[in-house]
């Protein structure tokens, strides 16, 4: 086991910079998830750590040693691929032991390690089967088993659950977490699914356009996003962004959303935003759960307004309501018993204690 460090790592394909100078420190035993949309450079970063892609610039260190020119087999890493990449002509046991056999481990040790990994992953009964006789979830377990038996310094996962159906994905997500709790190997996991990222990671690295947008624990990213991209990417349904501006009204700072709607900011928020120029074009960032039905006992900093709902989506434990505010589509989460109906007027409450204010031009959360 080892820590991993990336120093100003760049990957260029001809004229295109896929990864643009990444710095990242991954502690020993840590579970790091790289998340971002397609083409953000997350898989390329992982493949550079694996040694499957050359580095155009910068350094990658595993356990303190620069591994830029070390071939994959000497980096002491194990990788799980999206499409499993099992050797089709070998049995499960042969697949798992292939790396050990290449390194001429004693037979008894190979057997012990395969048995232990199979037990850990609950695939003991499948050990003599060929990959084509296995279901998708079982194949993914074997792929993980192949990584575990090697007892590497670092596990690399490249979107391992993307090929599984939704139910199995949730199940395997928990399995991966359990395995990491037992094995404690430093793990770098790539996914485009923010739910996977949030549920698995010790720390999440949000990437966009070849750069790191923000690194933080799942809670930090959710509650204190640094940029509009992170704020919009993490959380489902996504955060609402409502064009707004600040104005002074009778000694209090208020936020104006439309000609008719303006709310006084809670004191803590007012103090924080008071220094901002009043002319800036801003965005109010508000998660759907902070936009709920209005009721009698609203706390301080919660403001109500009347709107007409466009569409409602009953989810069972909650109902999602969609409406527009001067052309901006907005989503809220209300109680299923609050009487939200398609096309009906409804009074909603906006919890400004949990608001974010963003600069529209730079996308920075203020």
């Amino acid at each position: 086991m080892a820590d991993v460090a990336l120093r100003k790592v760049v990957k260029r394909y001809d004229d295109v910079e896929a990864v643009r100078g990444i710095d990242l420190d991954i502690a020993d035993h840590e579970f790091i998830v790289l998340v971002g949309p397609s083409g953000c450079g997350k898989s390329t970063t992982l493949r550079m750590i694996a040694g499957l892609e050359d580095i155009s610039d910068g350094d990658i260190m595993i356990g303190g040693d620069v591994v830029n020119d070390v071939p994959p087999k000497d980096r002491d890493i194990a990788m799980v691929f999206q499409n499993y990449a099992l050797y089709p002509h070998m049995t499960v046991a042969e697949n798992m032991s292939f790396g050990l056999r290449l390194k001429h481990y004693p037979k008894a040790e190979i057997k012990a390690r395969v048995t232990e990994a199979a037990r850990l992953l609950d695939i003991t009964d499948l050990i003599d089967r060929k990959p084509k006789q296995l279901s998708g979830g079982q194949r993914q377990r074997v792929a993980m088993g192949r990584a575990i038996v090697r007892n590497p310094k670092v596990f690399l996962f490249d979107e391992p659950l993307s090929n599984l159906d939704a139910k199995l994905r949730v199940q395997m997500r928990i399995e991966i977490k359990k395995v990491h709790q037992k094995v404690r190997t430093t793990t770098v996991y790539v996914t485009h699914d923010q739910v996977e990222a949030m549920t698995l990671a010790d720390r999440v690295v949000v990437m966009n356009k070849g750069k790191i947008e923000q690194i933080g624990t799942p809670n930090e990213l959710y509650h204190k996003p640094a940029t509009r991209f992170v704020a919009g990417f993490i959380g489902s349904p996504a955060m609402n962004f409502i064009p707004c501006r600040l104005e002074d009204a009778g000694g209090t700072l208020q936020i104006r959303l439309t000609d008719r709607i303006a709310f006084a900011l809670p004191p803590a928020r007012a103090a924080r935003y008071n220094a901002l120029p009043r002319t800036d074009k801003l965005l109010l960032g508000l998660r759907p759960e902070h936009l709920t039905e209005s009721h009698a006992h609203l706390g301080p900093g919660v403001e109500t307004f009347e709107t007409v709902l466009d569409v409602t989506e009953p989810m069972g434990m909650e109902t999602l309501v969609y409406f527009g505010l001067e052309g901006t589509p907005i989503c809220g989460r209300v109680d299923p018993n609050a009487g939200a109906k398609d096309g009906a007027p409804m009074r909603l409450a906006m919890d400004l204690n949990n608001m974010h204010l963003l600069n529209e031009a730079t996308g920075v959360v203020l």
């Binding site: 694996a50 040694g51 499957l52 071939p71 994959p72 087999k73 890493i77 194990a78 990788m79 691929f81 999206q82 499409n83 499993y84 990449a85 099992l86 050797y87 089709p88 002509h89 292939f98 790396g99 290449l102 390194k103 060929k130 990959p131 084509k132 006789q133 296995l134 998708g136 194949r139 192949r146 090697r150 090929n163």
Partner: protein, 303 residues
């Protein structure tokens, strides 16, 4: 009205499976019609050969029904199989074909692997170039090749011309490009993640080739083997040009040069020799056909 509707529905229920399966039935009928037609077309010559091979020379030259044997005899078979000359042709053909297959595979497999997987400067152009060399007909190549081998013989002093083993150098010019080309296709269809997984597992390129690619691409390898063997076995022009002494001849040239004496055609033995000569490829096809069709890549990746 309602009775009328029911009456109408009555007869239509006789067609149980709907129009889709009616189309299918007709498609099947046409398929069988053409299959039978082709079977007749392609099986007529071998059947004619078999019939002729069972006749004596006298019966062949007599104007009897060519499609019927009145006095069946195995004398043609006995004579050929007890003739050292024929066995010599058979032996030459076998050794040449087997060695050519081995040489071809030893060159084609690593070449195809390198061209399909190791991305190096010019690899794509080289792959196309390999195929283009196959397109040059042997009728264009045999004279320059003869000159080249003659020069090699003069320089080294090693006798090459009019020796069966000269064919071991010549046949691969036909088999290697094509086999490399089809192997490139098979190797390219193997998911990239498979060799990456092997690479991370600690395999060298050679180990990846021998322990992953060759077993996974076995159907392709067998297809290439069959091709190389068939080409070597049936090659006529090159052995005709490069070998002349009777003891150096391979089967196709041997049969035509020794069993046709001037304008005397020993039809019974020619047909017998041709039939016996067709047997080895047939046997190989029969044994390897299952492998040829089976897809071994199933289960490697998703789906």
């Amino acid at each position: 009205m309602s009775t009328l509707a029911i009456d109408k529905a009555g007869p239509s229920r006789k067609i149980k499976y709907g129009s889709m399966s009616r189309d299918r039935t007709w498609a099947l009928r046409w398929s069988y019609f053409f299959l039978v037609l082709f079977a007749i077309f392609f099986l007529t010559p071998p059947i004619y050969m078999l019939i002729t091979s069972l006749k004596s020379s006298a019966e062949i030259s007599a104007a009897t029904n060519p499609w019927w044997v009145f006095h069946p005899t195995l004398s043609n078979y006995v004579e050929l199989l007890s003739s050292n000359q024929f066995l010599r042709f058979f032996w030459n053909s076998s050794i040449v074909s087997i060695v050519v297959v081995i040489i071809t595979m030893l060159i084609s497999i690593p070449a195809a692997f390198a061209l399909a997987r190791m991305k190096f400067w010019g690899s794509a152009t080289l792959a196309t170039g390999v195929f283009l060399t196959y397109l040059i007909p042997d009728s264009l190549l045999f004279i320059p090749l003869f000159k080249v081998l003659g020069m090699v013989q003069d320089i080294t002093g090693i006798t090459l011309l009019n020796r069966w083993y000269v064919l071991l150098f010549i046949y691969p010019t036909l088999t290697v490009p094509f086999c490399t080309w089809i192997m490139i296709g098979y190797f390219a269809s193997i998911p990239k993640e498979l060799d990456e997984a092997a690479l991370i597992d600690g395999a060298s390129w050679l180990q990846t080739l021998t322990r992953i690619f060759i077993p996974v691409a076995l159907p392709g390898l067998i297809a290439a083997t069959i091709f190389a063997f068939t080409v070597s076995w049936a090659q006529f022009l090159y052995p005709l040009v490069f070998t002349t002494s009777v003891d150096q001849l391979v089967l196709p040239v041997g049969i035509t040069t020794t069993l046709i004496k001037g304008d005397v055609f020993n039809w019974g033995q020619i047909m017998t020799g041709a039939l016996l000569g067709a047997a080895p490829p047939l046997i190989i096809y029969a044994f390897l056909m299952d492998y040829y069709i089976a897809g071994l890549t199933a289960g490697a990746t998703k789906g």
